[in-house]
């Protein structure tokens, strides 16, 4: 056990830190620091910078374009990305479909899609949830019927994040009603430009628009877009949901957000002193930091085991569950820190440029403008990707044997 970096790890960290800080476009950094809306271009511009550097897909095997880093290097990279105010890298292609194709794809699928994911040429979105299939995902009813060289797809996907930007969607579709409900599911790649695909935005409680309904009406999909075997999609879905444990806890970003808490608490006043000097508030910060450090050390333990050759197991559920609790705990601290400044709502924060909406918005200080919106928005974290109740059931079953 050693929590110090080796000389090589230190050199790696310096290298990564230097590059990221020197190359992140200031306008993007500002948006991330203030929690402002990022648009497609922001993500793509930044991801291409990382792509050119060879760092866009740290989890991919080297032969497919990964950098060949050790778990510790990947851990440090995540840390430096967050510290440099990097936007979240869009996971759908890089952390979901990419690993799926590497594991289950045909040589043709790999050769076609993987380079395009790396270069951010295709924006992918995820077509899993349906109005009737949330936590009980296997009860999905979107139907794909084989018709010669094609499938004809009918149904509806929902909660589809950033579908408005997407070129492609990977979908779980029902290809059979025989046997258990998990057995008749297939994994299909659908071009969003295909006739019959309609995207309808869903406005969320923070006022933002990042999730959508996706309607599929007689959508004609080439049979070669099937990944893996027909009716074997559930295996792929489970692989996708459990494969990627790196960064699932969001530790690096939460550390960065704690800096934001400190920063805001240094600006807001209480009884004539900066809030950061208030003992009760400092204690609240300490409580969240304990959980955050415990999470970080648990992630390190799991990564060390993985580096020593142990296969990733259901412990990843702890990272998701506790990780989102910590993230939400920090949104509460931020909200508490801004005090009554939480009230004023400036719709401009939902737009690409802020400020710059003229003088008609309320006078919200820069550090407080997005805090309430962020708090409300982040309730999603304990719901998506397998709700925290589902994670508890996974732990109860797979680890405790209940």
């Amino acid at each position: 056990m050693d929590l110090n970096l080796t000389t090589e790890e230190q050199a790696f960290q310096d290298d990564v830190r230097g590059f990221l800080r020197a190359n992140i476009p200031p306008a993007i950094k500002r948006k991330v620091d203030l929690g402002l809306k990022l648009v497609k271009d922001d993500y793509v511009v930044w991801q291409r910078i990382l792509y050119e550097q060879g760092w866009i897909a740290p989890g991919w095997p080297k032969e497919y374009g990964g950098p060949g880093w050790s778990p510790v290097q990947r851990f440090l990279y995540e840390e430096e990305l967050a510290a440099a105010s990097s936007p979240r890298l869009i996971t759908f292609g890089l952390k979901m479909l990419g690993p799926v194709l590497i594991e289950f794809g045909t040589p043709e699928q790999k050769a076609h899609y993987l380079p395009r994911i790396l270069a951010s040429e295709d924006w992918w979105c995820q077509g899993f949830s349906e109005p009737g299939a949330g936590s009980d995902l296997a009860s999905l009813t979107t139907r794909a019927v084989r018709d010669g060289d094609h499938y004809i797809v009918n149904g509806q996907k929902t909660w589809t994040t950033l579908a408005q930007y997407a070129d492609w969607i990977f979908c779980l579709v029902r290809t059979s009603n025989e046997g258990k409900k998990q057995q008749g599911i297939s994994f299909l790649l659908i071009d969003m430009k295909t006739p019959g695909v309609t995207v309808r935005p869903i406005k969320t409680l923070d006022g933002g628009q990042e999730i959508n309904d996706v309607f599929l009406e007689n959508v004609k999909v080439p049979a070669e877009n099937l990944v893996g075997k027909e009716n074997d999609g559930w295996t792929i879905a489970k692989f996708l949901l459990s494969h990627e444990r790196f960064g699932i806890a969001g530790v690096a970003r939460s550390k960065k957000q704690m800096e934001r808490v400190r920063d805001i608490a240094g600006k807001e006043m209480k009884r004539g002193r900066p809030l950061i000097e208030d003992a009760r508030f400092r204690e609240r910060m300490a409580e969240v930091e304990i959980e955050l450090t415990a999470l970080e050390m648990t992630e390190l333990r799991l990564l060390s085991e993985e580096a020593a050759g142990r296969k990733p197991g259901p412990e990843a559920s702890i990272l998701k569950l506790k990780g989102t609790q910590v993230q939400q705990g920090i949104t509460e601290l931020l909200l508490e820190a801004v005090g009554n400044r939480a009230h004023a709502f400036d719709p401009g924060i939902l737009e690409d440029e802020w400020p710059g909406m003229g003088n008609d918005g309320p006078p919200v200080p820069e550090h407080a403008a997005t805090v309430a919106s962020h708090y409300f928005n982040w309730r999603k974290a304990s719901i998506y990707g397998g709700s925290n109740e589902i994670q508890r059931s996974i732990i109860a079953k797979a680890i405790l044997g209940l």
């Binding site: 056990m1 970096l5 790890e9 300490a286 959980e291 450090t293 415990a294 050390m297 732990i395 044997g401």
Partner: protein, 377 residues
């Protein structure tokens, strides 16, 4: 950077777990508690044979080396084993103070005896008014010729009634809560004027209150520097806080294991309790908090051996505060999920719960460590 055990550490862990599984247990514990002094001297000798008492003592001083992580592995196993033997008092507290503060010739005399199981130690640092603050010291030591004379009263010194020597904090200068002016003296337990009121503790161990009435000591009894004892005491208590957090993790793991087993076995409404989702999810919280506590305990253990004192202090407080919160949750939930059986003396669950609760009241509770973290932030 890595967070895995070495091969030697895995050996220590496996040996300790095997010992407590095969040769210890609630019945053995009860027998040991009933012996004079509240623990078993033959078992203590076995600890010495297995090298446990020499852990953390440098090889040139009669130990087998190793660091705080090795001791944490042992403490975690002792937690799960509900050991009543005075490892914490003698090896962790006493051993650390002598390692860090005694003159080389005194180290050379005492540490081999400690490693051999022939020397028992206690650390008397708290007083009636001090709560968990190490600097709140009223006991006075007046210079007297080349030595000192000690007067005062210390509270809840672990195993003080059965030890050979007691390390005592006393004020050699300054006011009651000054950081400077505290000196640590290693006093013979049979010194004239020293009396110990020995009593059992709620969690099945022994402790004692120590009265010092004109106790004379030589200059060589001083551990560390005169007036400079606080950092020494603080480092020892931080190390102990990290290590009882590991012990707490062992207790939590045992409670979670027993509770899950009970949920699988106990049937109500025609099916095992473990079929009920409400109970599954509560068991899951117990499991997760056990793992989080364990992670922080080992981080704190690693930090105690580094050069960065603020990081060591912070890590000890984080681990101890987490152990306090998680210990309460897991202890209470284990009793609740055991139903009526949880409140009996017969089942191990109540004994784990009591030790876990009293750990929160040792070396600073959650509130104390949150205060400390808030001061550091």
């Amino acid at each position: 950077m890595n967070f895995t055990f070495s091969d030697e550490q895995i050996l220590i862990r496996d040996m300790a777990e095997r010992f407590f599984r095969d040769d210890y247990g609630l019945d053995v514990r009860r027998k040991h508690q009933a012996l004079p002094g509240g623990f078993c001297r033959e078992t203590w000798a076995r600890f010495a044979d297995m090298g446990w008492l020499a852990l953390g003592i440098p090889e040139d001083l009669g130990g087998i080396g190793g660091g705080t992580v090795d001791m944490a592995i042992l403490m975690e196993a002792m937690g799960g084993g509900l050991a009543v033997e005075p490892f914490l008092a003698t090896v962790v507290l006493g051993g650390t103070l002598i390692r860090d503060g005694a003159r080389p010739d005194i180290q050379a005399d005492l540490l081999p005896r400690l490693a051999a199981g022939e020397l028992h130690l206690s650390f008397a640092y708290s007083e009636a008014q001090s709560r968990y603050d190490l600097n709140d010291v009223r006991t006075r030591a007046k210079a007297d010729g080349s030595g000192f004379v000690l007067d005062g009263a210390k509270t809840v010194a672990l195993h003080a009634g059965t030890v050979d020597k007691i390390a005592v904090t006393a004020r050699t200068s300054g006011g009651e809560r000054d950081d400077g002016g505290i000196t640590i003296f290693l006093v013979d337990a049979d010194a004239p004027g020293l009396t110990v009121t020995d009593y059992p503790t709620v969690d099945g161990l022994r402790a004692g209150d120590v009265a010092l009435d004109g106790v004379r000591v030589d200059a060589e009894a001083v551990l560390g520097a005169v007036d400079g004892g606080l950092p020494l005491a603080e480092a020892a208590i931080d190390r102990a806080a990290a290590l009882v957090s590991a012990e707490a993790a062992g207790l939590m793991a045992a409670l979670t294991r027993d509770t899950v087993a009970f949920l699988k076995e106990r049937k109500q409404f025609g099916r095992p309790l473990g079929d009920f989702q409400a109970l599954q999810h509560r068991a899951t919280e117990m499991y997760m908090d056990t793992e989080l506590t364990r992670s922080l305990a080992y981080m704190a253990a690693v930090r105690q051996d580094g050069d960065d004192r603020p990081a060591a202090r912070r890590a000890a407080s984080q681990a101890k505060a987490k152990a306090g919160q998680a210990g309460r949750l897991i202890g209470q939930e284990a009793v609740q999920l055991h139903g009526g059986m949880g409140v009996t003396d017969e089942m191990p669950v109540g004994h784990y719960f009591k030790r876990l609760t009293l750990i929160d009241h040792s070396f600073g509770d959650r509130a104390h460590h949150l205060d400390r973290l808030a001061d550091m932030a």
